[in-house]
Subunit: 254 residues, 2 copies
């Protein structure tokens, strides 16, 4: 099983604190050492960093921990290979363009023997069940809407599509188009909101405390979604199995 991290923010936010703790799970404090990746939206633009080294040892991950990129939508993933070999084309997050927007997807779980009918123009480059599921979601979204719909309409469509995959296996995922971040839980996903009045938090995986009151403004607000809680002194809420939440501007909207 892999681990997921998502941030959806009211204002451009750097993910250094959360990403640092998360990276430790990629080969140091946990065994998800088969690659990692992180995607940052900047407006409609996208930066995607992927690597088949472990996140804890990767020079690219070390660079990013020291060079904070600010973004309103961030999706990161550390991989424990279950389906598909360890190579760059199997590293999450995956990305595709639809309706002139970048879409980013990362998955935690197993969809064994999942070979959906991909009859359209979204085809997997690698050999993971995860990328096949992403391609199917993109294909079905494209069939459901002629151009980019509202977040609410997209959420309705996803509520119809996602159960068709999740009944076949474990399908915890994060999805974003830069406007919103969708998070679906099959088995395990947690979330919290950091907002005014901000407080201090201490990472579970590394001895590092940040007082968010020192670095945030009143209008800042960040939703953090992660497989297992990142900090020891914040209140993390668990998703219910089968729950799909959508986050906009740092808070859940559906």
């Amino acid at each position: 099983m892999c681990q997921l991290l998502g941030l959806n923010c009211a204002t451009p936010t750097d993910a250094t604190f959360s990403f640092t703790g998360f990276c430790q799970r990629g080969g140091a404090t946990d065994h998800h050492a088969d690659g990692w990746g992180i995607a940052f939206f900047e407006g409609k633009g996208l930066r995607l960093f992927i690597d088949h080294e472990s996140a804890a040892a990767s020079p690219v991950a070390a660079f990013l921990r020291g060079y904070p990129l600010k973004s309103r939508n961030i999706i990161a993933h550390v991989r424990k290979a279950t389906v598909g070999e360890v190579c760059l084309e199997n590293a999450h997050p995956f990305t595709r363009e639809l309706w002139g927007r970048h879409w980013v997807f990362a998955h935690n779980g197993d969809l064994k023997d999942y070979h959906p009918k991909l009859h359209s123009h979204f085809l997997p480059v690698g050999s993971t069940d995860s990328e096949r599921a992403f391609c199917w979601l993109m294909q079905e979204l494209a069939k459901s809407h002629a151009s980019v719909p509202s977040v609410a309409e997209l959420t309705l469509t996803l509520r119809e599509l996602v159960p068709q995959i999740s009944r076949l296996g474990t399908f915890n995922f994060l999805l974003s188009n830069g406007d919103a971040l969708w998070a679906h839980c099959s088995t395990k996903l947690h979330w919290l909101i950091r907002q005014h009045p901000f407080q201090a938090a201490t990472l579970m995986d590394e001895d590092w405390t940040v007082d968010f009151a020192d670095i945030n403004q009143a209008g800042d607000r960040v939703a953090v979604i992660v497989t297992t809680p990142l900090t020891r002194n914040e209140q993390w809420a668990a998703f219910a199995p089968g729950e799909l939440k959508v986050f906009v501007d740092g808070q859940p909207v559906g």
Copy 2:
């Protein structure tokens, strides 16, 4: 006008020497300071780094100059904005998936008022003429072949498609799917092959000499394609206007 750099190699090769000289043209020795980008294929996998800072000043570019990624197909671009504002979604190279393969494209030139009929599923995210041209090429390639064709077949199709764009403006471009690198010249593009017996080369844009005999093996071979020659003591050949060349394993094949 922007500048292009492409490397097509027989064996995985690091681009540090060429990329270092090339970066100096992004804001230091030349005025292409409106962003930059570089794409590295690793097998079917792809790493894409883009930035809206100048290549000469960018921390990401500095990191990459010190962390050599080896690849057989590399495309880099420094941008002088002519059409489309300076923002991340307008940074080259652009990428799309087609037939389960990543495609990478970078353009130098102007296609003023170029608005092709994009009736299929490749739509631009940003506002550049370059990304519109790439989307049109992908759309027309997808219509011409049901699945990934041979390099020779792709080259034939591109020879039919490219003149339909290049007659409308300046269309120097580099395109790769990880198997081959296509280079088209409207106005300005140069190339050379580095192979056994390797020799020393000195960058034009920075005081740095590398003796490639020291760092290469007998089987290594690299085709370098660039807008203006990168080194002062190598023999660069100029493309003819309208010429489309395709490189495989570090040498031209058509």
